[in-house]
Symmetry: C2
Subunit: 512 residues, 2 copies
Amino acid sequence: MTDQSPIRSGGRAARRAARAKPLADHLRPIRPGMEGGQYTPLTQAGMEAIHRAALTALEEIGLADAPASGVAYLTKAGAILGDDGRLRFPPALVEDALARANRSVTLCARDPAHDLELSGTRVHYGTAGAAVHLVDVEDNSYRECTLQDLHDAARITDTLDNIHFLQRPMVCRDITDNREMDLNTVYGCCSGTMKHVGTSFTDPAYIKDALEMLHIIAGGEDKWRERPFMSNSNCFVVPPMKFATESCLVMEEAIKGGMPVLLLSAGMAGATAPSTVAGAIVQAVAECLAGLVYVDAVQPGHPVIFGTWPFGLDLRSGAMTGGSGEQALLTSGCAQMHHFYGLPGGAAGGIADAKMPDMQAGWEQMCSNVMAGLSGCNMIYEAAGMHASLLGFCHESLILGDDLIGQAQRCVRGIEVNDETLALDQIREVCLGGPGHYLGTEQTLSRMETDHVYPSLANRSSPKEWDELGKPDLIRNATARKEEILSQRSRARFDPIIDKEIRARFNIHLPA
Amino acid sequence: MTDQSPIRSGGRAARRAARAKPLADHLRPIRPGMEGGQYTPLTQAGMEAIHRAALTALEEIGLADAPASGVAYLTKAGAILGDDGRLRFPPALVEDALARANRSVTLCARDPAHDLELSGTRVHYGTAGAAVHLVDVEDNSYRECTLQDLHDAARITDTLDNIHFLQRPMVCRDITDNREMDLNTVYGCCSGTMKHVGTSFTDPAYIKDALEMLHIIAGGEDKWRERPFMSNSNCFVVPPMKFATESCLVMEEAIKGGMPVLLLSAGMAGATAPSTVAGAIVQAVAECLAGLVYVDAVQPGHPVIFGTWPFGLDLRSGAMTGGSGEQALLTSGCAQMHHFYGLPGGAAGGIADAKMPDMQAGWEQMCSNVMAGLSGCNMIYEAAGMHASLLGFCHESLILGDDLIGQAQRCVRGIEVNDETLALDQIREVCLGGPGHYLGTEQTLSRMETDHVYPSLANRSSPKEWDELGKPDLIRNATARKEEILSQRSRARFDPIIDKEIRARFNIHLPA
């Protein structure tokens, strides 16, 4: 019927030529910070009900266990200390803090090209967590993870387009001293990636040490304060409704040191938070609002990320689960509450319960990652590499996560509707006396890079081609990619003079 | 701080006791036909623009290649036959057909418990396709698929809670005669499952034969017409904008025979449809509207499913791809257009490009399945088992798809917000003098089955438990489940007298 040759030769050659042209950055099909929000699991009435319940919880239940300094800050601001030791928050106090809070936060990166602008429904994906195991895909086993594993994760993250930041995803089990572990974590992350880094500290004294290292890396305290490229992931509450005394002191030090704070409330729905999705969100929102008031009392305007991170629980076993539909709803519902308040926020997505990067891991990671993105979550933490309900981290999975998140980001970008994309003229030309197909049209060619996200390791070949290619194995190819990345010199390595200065001051466990 | 014993012993025992009670059907956490629609990729203006463009395409471009009978039906209804042989549809003709169209369709099943009520944003998942290969997971290879493979897929589907219907997912490559293939497909599907069945026919004569078989199965033509348990998946168009002459004649026979029709437009974005998501939706909508007018002209009120099934294309190779974010957007955008028109509709989700049920397959299948569900697509076809961009079907993947779709359905169910789920009273009780955790609360226990979807084969154990369990392998366990299912006698097997009658009339290739 129609002349097939443009499909078979001319069209394909033209497509190849189109691909050869390098793509300007603004034409990339996906980018960090694209706007989500097309998915709204909560109604307006639902959000208001959650807000009212959170305000009531803060006013009537309040939070226990604030440190003395926190009690002083918060009672001075207007919180009421009860005979039961709980601080209660009048609604007006919360509302005032909300009114003053930042509507946007910039998370800087050592390379400014990787700065993250958190506002509205802009979406970013990255790592996070405190895994204690490294997943060995070749041996099908778990082992304790090390500083080197963490550093490798940072180096891999640095090369992946769709992993936008590195929050420490695992703890260095080979360093027994807490101070040395915290400081080597800072070193291991920052020397591996030019992207924004997040981490936590076990003791307020260690954050002072860390700031000293960060000042050296930045080239002085003024340079650090101008562009703080590390944030403090701070578990300031022990749900339900208790301040984490020590972490609050860490937070106060972070604020003093000019380090952005992720106010992280990590309740487990059914254990340390109500088992219902709505109830777990209420408690997480109440806790983070308390944290917001706290930060506002210490330093109004300090950059804060509203970190409602409720996790799911498998009630049959009482163990955490992060790969469920319930988890995806928890995260997406929280993101909507961030928008309700107009606050930059973050939550956990992408967690696999699967022990290995298998089909289960794929569906679990995609479910919460794509829903969190569509809900417009600013910071989607734990988005790649996390297995065994956060107990294990896997480098190969991190690399495959880049492909997975690329597709999720394409979904976040959404459907553009305009005269060109509606393509009525194109349909007319193709059908009425035209070739009867769209393969060679100017619009198809011109949009083939800007509209489509092509996977890196995921395989789209036909069974025949796949067979001819020797049946490429996803995991083995991810391992090969990992080895290739780690064989290169990292662009994030410190200048030798700076490195020497750091090593003179701190006991760095990574070889120079 | 708090007494841990309720978590460790009392709580767990109570949870175990709660689980032992059988769950009434209406209390199941997920069900066929739950309402989606929380995800809306298109704005109202976007939907209206797509609608206007589709009307213009029908009015100005029209469709070629209608059979003589179709030309007669349609010109009588008001369509205009041009000198170029294309039928053009004045907007008023389309709008009249839309006004008369069914707002709901019941797809019956041999077991009425599996009837599907298509309306609004009610969501159902099932199989579909025309795969030519069976995926052999043990041998890591593809082979031609057979009638027995199809029958086994039907039998497996019959046992899976979250696969709500069986549309023929693969063609019987071991039957060379088209008529025998079509009729054995009907036999192989219907004798394997009591759920609703869909299939296609290559020739209008074969559908007459099939109806004869269906009358025998139903116990008479009247019983069949009362509860037609099979629908005709009908590719009535060859995109772009041409009727599929032969399939239109099949459709006319289906209508006469009382068989619901899936009006299936399967363009490939970038080849047989515009490469843009919006443009591919415009063309699919225009084509299905033409089909709707056609059916309305033959038999007003005949049950029709609006089957906009645009597929993605990898423009680098020119080959189909169904595992992309673009595919998930195509499907979700179409679902929203179904709601725009208030028509029962369906589209394709869950397609993997991956050759095997690996991590890639997991993320690809979840991406479009969960987004299609959240967009409220009535019929999500190809939701399980499909690999290699529709070329391969995998029994193990079908079984794992049941778990995957279970989690997607949990997401569709969404977040309930009411006084009980907001849990303010529970938070109060737990925090103020209570146990400090929620594991043993009455609300946690009472909702542990009704709120949570527990996977069947997906593994949630800790690394330690996983190791102790001998590192269960997802695929091997799916194979074991498959063998267990197929070792059982199927409830869908025909009564011996009926079976004898069918075999006397038709050459059935399945052993009796």
